[in-house]
Point group: C2
Chain length 217, copies 2
């Protein structure tokens, strides 16, 4: 008899268990939590800065930043007013539940209302690893092009909300919003979508209201 060890499945199953533990910890402290995923440079950090600056007088916010290298993102989140923890993954292309577990130990959970996890900039790998957060948000960026839902279906299928950032650049690029939206609809029908510009602030209020709704329920 040949024994086949399915290494990838075992890793994912272990990750799921740790993700469930993270969720329990977050729920015990009554924290609403988000996993922000996107390509490199889609605007995750800028959006987190906007959210923290807008909500910091009302809610206590923690940010966990995942990057291959540097503390640049956590520094920006901290400057904006959040409790910030940087995870440097070395070469790893995604965060996983173990990494978040470690980060949560560095946060005074009982003082926090909202946890935002900024995943590694990558439109593929992070979608396979649950962290235990309540909602996953994908940030698309208009200069990336309108074909991304078709080409990265796994990421678009697995998320609870979609932010379309850099709409201020639409006059200067080729981006067919109807084609983009059709792709999203096929993969994730009725996905709540927020077209925004982090640069100008356009559309940010709708996203903030959605966040506040989730924080208050």
């Amino acid at each position: 008899m040949v024994k086949r060890v399915s290494i990838v499945e075992n890793i994912l199953s272990a990750n799921d268990q740790l993700a469930a533990n993270n969720r329990k910890k977050l729920d015990a402290s009554n924290i609403f939590s988000l996993n922000f995923m996107a390509s490199p440079g889609a605007g995750k950090t800028s959006l987190i800065e906007r959210i923290v600056k807008s909500l910091a007088d009302r809610y206590k916010i923690a940010v966990v930043d995942g990057d291959i290298a540097t503390n640049l993102d956590a520094d920006r989140a901290a400057s904006a007013g959040a409790v910030a923890v940087q995870i440097n993954t070395g070469g790893e292309c995604h965060l996983d539940a173990v990494m978040l577990q470690g980060a949560l130990k560095q946060i005074p959970l009982n003082e926090i209302d909202l946890l935002i996890v900024e995943n590694v900039g990558n439109l593929i790998c992070p979608s396979s690893f649950k962290l235990g957060t309540h909602k996953s948000i994908l940030i698309a960026s208009t200069p990336e092009g309108d074909d991304k839902p078709y080409k990265y279906p796994g990421m678009y299928q697995g998320v609870d909300a979609l932010v379309v950032n850099k709409i201020d650049l639409l006059p200067y690029i080729t981006f067919d919003m109807a084609y983009f939206t059709r792709g999203v609809e096929i993969l994730n029908p009725n996905l709540i979508t927020f077209p925004i510009s982090c640069r100008t602030g356009e559309g940010i209020n709708c996203l903030l209201n959605w966040l506040i709704d989730n924080l208050e329920t």
Copy 2:
């Protein structure tokens, strides 16, 4: 005695051997070959279209497109005038030497002068897997932000040339070229760099001249 099997190292070593085989095959047919890597939406496909359209009357070009899903990119390369092969990786976040080996079997190598491989849109994983191509080119995109060399050092360290695309958007975004260049210099001193706009055509000629130089030597 405990035996430890280093799976990742074994996979990479097997990949290196197959990459060397691919290189031999390419050299035997006197083909100059490039591996294009970038974030999703940085402009790999648009740049390949430009190159194929500009050089197709002078050289016979093959394009191998790696994507999670769809034939969109290979269709564009074929329309531009290349022999195009699409690899759909399923969920895989990068191309590897086995995938290129399979694609090369579908190309009439003795008729080809230039092979362009378009890797999966990902600023992390593709840098770990050699394909056997002669040169690796990274395409950065200005709306991704000026901090990318600092945050994705592995990719910037391993390439032979850098294209900075979408310079036509510089007036509308925040991008400190000196800060970006400083990051590149630390990781990959004297890296040959081509600032371009695929949209307007600015800077494309310098890149084409570099390609022709490599094709003629």
